[in-house]
Each structure stands twice: as C-alpha cells, then as structure tokens.
C-alpha cells in the first residue's frame, strides 16, 4: 500500500551534496521533490515546485519572499537554507506565517575565515598580478622592488563585525605579526580579548587600519557602509577585504577609490550582483581581486552544510528541535 499520503512534501531548490540527500531519504518522513541541477531553479519552476510543500530547502540564490510563500500555501512549516546568511529570506513575511527557519552557522566558519585570509594575502601580496606577469612574459629576472606588496608584520588590522567569522579571521591573522587588532560593531564583544581586540568607533578603525576586513551581516544599517566617505578616510596604503555580502560596499565608490589611489587595493568574494557581469569596471583593475563567492567552498564544509540543512529541515517537519534554528 502506498504510504505517500503520510509523507510530508519537501522541495529542494537545488541538487545538494550526497551527505544531505542521504539524511533526508533515510529519515523516511518526507517525499523529496528536487530541482535536480547544479544551476538555479527558474522562478516559475520554484513557484510550481513549492505548492503544498511542508518544507523548503533553499540556497542563498533563491529569493524567498511573499510570492513564494503564498505559492507554497499553508502547509509550509519550515524553511532550511544552505547558508549562514539569510538576507534572501523575507523574515517579516516568514514570521507572520509562523514558519521556522534553519540555517548553517559555525560549520562554515573555518572555511570562510580561511578563504578571507587567503583573499587578504593574495590581494596584499599581489598574487594574481604575479601569476599574470609570469604567464604573459612580464617576468624577466629578480628585481628588488618589482611586485612589492604590503606585509602584515607590524600592521594594524581592522575587522568590521567581530562575529563568529570575524573572530576566526582575527585568530588566523595573529601569527603574521599584526601589531594592533581593531574592531567595530554595535557592542563590544567579550571574546575579543582572545585576540587583544580593541573596540573602537568605525571612523577610528577606518582611518587607522592597514588592512580592513568587512565581516558583518547585511542589514539596513550596513547596506552601502563602504562608500565614498568611508574610502576617503582610509590610508592610501590600505587594503580592503569583503567576504560578507556585496551590498555592504558601494561598488562605484570603490572603483573611484581604487583608480585614484585613495586606497591601495581591494579583495572581494561577494559583489552586487552575483555573478558580477564580465564587463564590470572592477574586473579591469590590477589592484582589485574578485572571487566568485567561494567563501565556504571546500568539499568537507559543503558536505557538512548539506547534512546540517537536512537535519534542520527534518527537525522543523517533525516539530522537534533543529540543530541550528534562526531566532528572529
């Protein structure tokens, strides 16, 4: 006899790593409907696929707004996102409908902090430029000042947003001989003591840092934070790194700052939009390194994120605890 009627319906907006799929199928409580591709689900497909769903597992490239929630209907009790960011979820609408939300903090902290430090170093020490010079014949012989960059030794690092990821970044930078670690945010953090972090006003951080790392979440307050006024206060030898969300940075103002020598260089793992169009001016600059949002892209981390998002989904479906529930 078919037991399909007893199974709850879930919709997955993408093919997810096997660690996650295994958990969903082994649980035996849901019938999985899936956009079986590595490419994003088209909007029309998404609106169709969520109809009647009890649970939705999505990625950060899916906008979950009132339209999607309406299309899903009253069965929907849990949304599980394969990300730590949740700016793609219309939280007010979700809250109104009493839907629970799972996300994936912590498990991606190491991979993201590692990538942010990789990006900082690659930008400060001009690795992509070096690689290009080697490939196109620009390398003739050892020269004392060629491709010199800025070292971390003796420097001041400023972290905007000393949360899980900001803290992990700070810890990884310490043995490079950083002299001062500044941070800014809404409140001082007790854990900052572990990295001798000094809580300072944003303006102080901006004007005194040699390396500025943006590690805050995207909110109405942080949207467009890094703009013309911000860049004008930075040192002209300073390097900016953003691995949080693209919208925290005003990209036109950044382009101006980089081309006028107002700041030395920038490394971005996140942009507006994503993908950044290939004819975007930032992609033409030697002193701007752009990565295609790979902060958490390691095999082990993506597998763990998939498993966690699957468990979050099951918890929500069964009215039980979720390993990582978003409180909002």
């Amino acid at each position: 006899m078919q037991t399909v009627g007893k199974l709850m319906k879930v919709f997955l907006t993408r093919r997810i790593p096997p660690e996650g799929m295994k958990i969903l199928s082994a649980a035996g409580v849901c019938e999985v409907s899936l956009w079986d591709s590595d490419e994003p689900v088209p909007r029309a497909e998404l609106l169709r696929g969520v109809q009647g769903a009890h649970g939705l597992l999505c990625l950060l490239s899916d906008k979950i707004d009132a339209e999607v929630l309406d299309a899903a209907g009253p069965n929907l009790k849990v949304i599980s996102t394969l990300s730590v960011g949740f700016d793609h979820l219309a939280l007010e609408e979700i809250k109104k409908r009493g839907i629970r939300v799972g996300y994936t903090p912590d498990v991606l902290t190491d991979a993201t902090a590692e990538l942010t430090v990789a990006l900082l170093l690659a930008t400060a020490r001009r690795l992509p430029e070096g690689v290009e010079e080697v490939k196109n014949g620009g390398w003739s012989s050892w020269k004392p000042l060629w491709l010199c960059g800025y070292g971390l030794s003796g420097s001041t690092v400023g972290i905007i947003g000393l949360g899980r990821i900001g803290m992990a970044i700070a810890q990884r930078l310490m043995p490079f001989g950083v002299k001062r670690l500044l941070y800014s945010g809404r409140t001082a953090k007790a854990h900052a003591a572990k990295v001798n972090g000094e809580f300072v006003p944003l303006d102080t951080l901006v004007s005194e840092s040699d390396f500025l790392v943006v590690s805050c979440s995207l909110t109405p307050e942080t949207q467009g934070l890094c703009d013309k006024a911000f860049f004008s206060k930075m040192k002209n030898t300073a390097v900016l790194v953003n691995s949080s969300r693209g919208a925290v940075v005003n990209q036109e103002d950044l382009y101006e700052a980089l081309t006028s020598g107002q700041i030395a260089a920038a490394g971005l793992d996140v942009t507006t939009p994503e993908p950044l169009p290939t004819n975007h001016p930032l992609l033409t600059l030697k002193n701007c390194v752009v990565l295609p949002h790979i902060g958490s892209a390691t095999y082990s981390t993506r597998g763990i994120m998939a498993a966690l998002s699957a468990k979050n989904l099951l918890g929500g479906l069964q009215g039980a605890d979720m390993p990582s529930e978003l409180t909002f």
Binding site: D38, A122, R125, S141, G151, P292
Partner: protein, 370 residues
C-alpha cells in the same frame, strides 16, 4: 598604487640624501676619497641601503643604476676590477671567473639575499689554497640577509599555499571570463587546512615561521624532515621528525623550505610525488633546483597530487611555453617571496651594513660561515 617606479620614488622620498650614483661625496673631497675602499653595487638596491653606503663616508661606490635588468656579465667583470667590496643580488653568479676579474683587493662580498646558491660554494669550501678559486684563501668574507626576510617569505608561502588549495587563480579567471554563474554547492571547492597534516621539508627559520602562521587554521599535525632532527626548532611548533618517505605519505600540505645544496638538488622528484596523497598540495618557495620539474608536471597532470604552488623555478624566468603553465592546478609566481616594501628595504640596509662592517674588519651583522 602598485607601479614599481612610483614605489621607488615614494621610498626615495623617505631617504634623506639625494643619492650621488658614484658615492655621494662632493668633488672637493675627491682627493681624500681616492684612498677610500672601492665598492661595486650590482643593482639599484632599495634606498635604505644606498643611503647607508653614501652617508657612511667610508667607501666610494659605483652602481649598476637599474632596478630592472641585471648588470650584463661583461660589464660586471669590467667593473669589479680592483674593488675592495662587492654588493650583489642573487642574479649574479659569483664564481672563479668573477673573483679572478676582481683581483686580490676583494675582501668582502655582501649578497642581498638569504640564499647563497649563486655563490660558488664548492669552490669556496676547498681547503687547498689555490690562488684563483678560494674565498677563504683570499680571506674574503661573505655577508647575507637571513631573518629580516623570514616574515615576508613565510607570509608569501602561506599566501601561495592558500591560493593553491582554495583555487583562487582559477576562481579569479572564472569571475573575469563568464564562468561564474550563480552560487553552486560544489563548484570550485578546495581542500581545507582544518584537520590536515602539514609537512615541512627542511625545518629552518622559514619553515618554523610558516608553521606558526598555519597553526590557527586548525592544522591537526605538523611533521618535518631534515638531514637530522632539529629539536629546538621543532618544539616551537610541536612538529614530529619523520623520514622523507613518511613526509610524502602523510602530508596533506607539503612545503619545501630547505636550502639548495648538492644533497637537496631535485629531491622532489617522481619518487616523492608517487608516495604523496592524490588530495595533497605541494608548495615550493625555496629554490627551483630542489624540484624535478618534469616529474612535477607528470604528477600534476595525472592527478597523482592535487595541486602545486611554486615561487621559484628553473630557470627564472620560466619560459612562457613551459608545460607547467598549461595546468589549472599549478600556480607559478615570479620569485616574490621577500617582496614587501619594508622587507626589501631592510635587506638592502642589512646588506650595506654587512659590507661596511666587513671592510672595517669588524664582525658583520649576518656573516655566512664558509
């Protein structure tokens, strides 16, 4: 901005005295100057060092006034004739021919590098005093620049390791050429340092500094190999001494940090690569000659190892048609490990001070024991 000419001008503004290429003394002092020791400087070294030489009042020096191209061999052989001191960089081969050309006045050689494989040590170590070949027979002392560049080199090595393991060059390329679609779960995934084993081939100052920088990435274990155990250095980073074979077998990340000697020449060859994990990352910022490049190409193209990052090659520069450039999983940099403004200036200053101290017959700050 990054332009090296602008950087040089910026640094020169820091140097107080405008530099006179032939030694910084006015013509009215030329008579006294003629008895001062003569020095040849083989490159336009960063301003700190030139400032020290010219303000010392101790030497008259001539300079190959380019920061770009090395001094041509013929010019070099001509200019070293009769010098008392020679300040060089690693592009000059200091061999018997050059020492002959210099003649018996040469007492001090100062290299602006920590590597000394461009100095013919084989010749230097000969105990028989053959008048044409031997540094020690001539009483030539050698200064070099360890320590001041350790931080910069360790930093670049970690930068290269992360760029390789997290596929940054592939990623920047995809971002520029339209390969970047929207976020995908397994695209451009790399290998994490967390829970890994890092192996160091040659545990010296630089090897320790690299390990110190890698530790907070949650590396599980550090191992190393060397000609003999180095307990003092190893204890700083809690590293276990293993054989070269074990280093190959256990390492998820293998960093080569040894000097280039006859013993280490091409020690990273197919024998080593065949024992490594197929998920492992190989990094070399020591000297190109430690790696058998054809064997490395084989290992990378057949998936025997996952990726490699090189800051040093044979030759330098590596010709742009070399097969290693065809591999997505091979990152090659043009020998920039010590290339930070502060470090290159510190190396320049140290090389100048080593030279001046040597000429005064005093202990150098950093002298190479031959």
């Amino acid at each position: 901005m990054w332009c090296s000419r602008m950087a040089l001008r910026r640094l020169q503004r820091i140097a107080v005295t405008p530099l006179n290429i032939t030694g910084g003394l006015t013509s009215s002092a030329q008579r006294e100057m003629s008895t001062l020791p003569r020095v040849y400087v083989t490159r336009q070294i960063p301003p700190e060092g030139l400032k020290i030489l010219s303000e010392s009042g101790q030497v008259q020096f001539e300079l190959w006034d380019s920061d770009d191209a090395p001094v041509p061999r013929k010019e070099l052989l001509q200019k070293v004739k009769g010098v008392d001191g020679l300040l060089c960089v690693l592009t000059e081969k200091i061999d018997a021919e050059l020492l002959d050309a210099a003649g018996p006045n040469l007492k001090v050689l100062s290299t602006m590098s920590v590597g000394f494989d461009h100095l013919s040590l084989e010749e230097l170590k000969k105990s028989v005093c053959v008048c044409v070949c031997v540094f020690s027979c001539r009483g030539i002392r050698v200064g070099y620049t360890p320590d001041v560049l350790t931080d910069s080199v360790a930093e670049l090595t970690v930068a290269l390791l992360l760029t390789t393991s997290r596929r940054l060059i592939e990623a920047t390329h995809e971002a520029k050429t339209g390969g970047w679609g929207t976020w995908r779960t397994l695209w451009l995934c790399g290998h994490e340092l967390a829970n890994s084993t890092v192996g160091i081939l040659g545990l010296g100052r630089i090897g320790v500094a690299i390990a110190e920088r890698l530790a907070p990435f949650k590396v599980k274990k550090f191992i190393y190999t060397d000609v003999a155990p180095r307990p003092e250095l190893a204890s700083i980073i809690n590293a276990e001494y293993v054989s070269l074979d074990e280093l190959a077998k256990q390492s998820d990340f293998l960093a080569v940090c040894c000097a280039l000697t006859p013993e280490t020449k091409e020690i990273c060859n197919k024998d080593l690569f065949s024992k490594m994990k197929n998920t492992s990352i190989f990094i070399n910022t020591s000297r190109g000659g430690v790696v058998h490049q054809d064997d490395l190409y084989e290992a990378l193209s057949t998936g025997q190892i996952a990726g490699a990052g090189l800051d040093v090659t044979v030759p330098e520069p590596l010709p742009t048609d070399h097969p290693l450039f065809t591999l997505k999983n091979c990152v090659i940099l043009p020998h920039i490990a010590s290339a930070s403004y502060t470090t290159r200036n510190a190396m320049s200053a140290l090389a100048a001070n080593n030279l001046l101290l040597g000429l005064r017959g005093e202990p150098m700050i950093k002298e190479l024991k031959l």
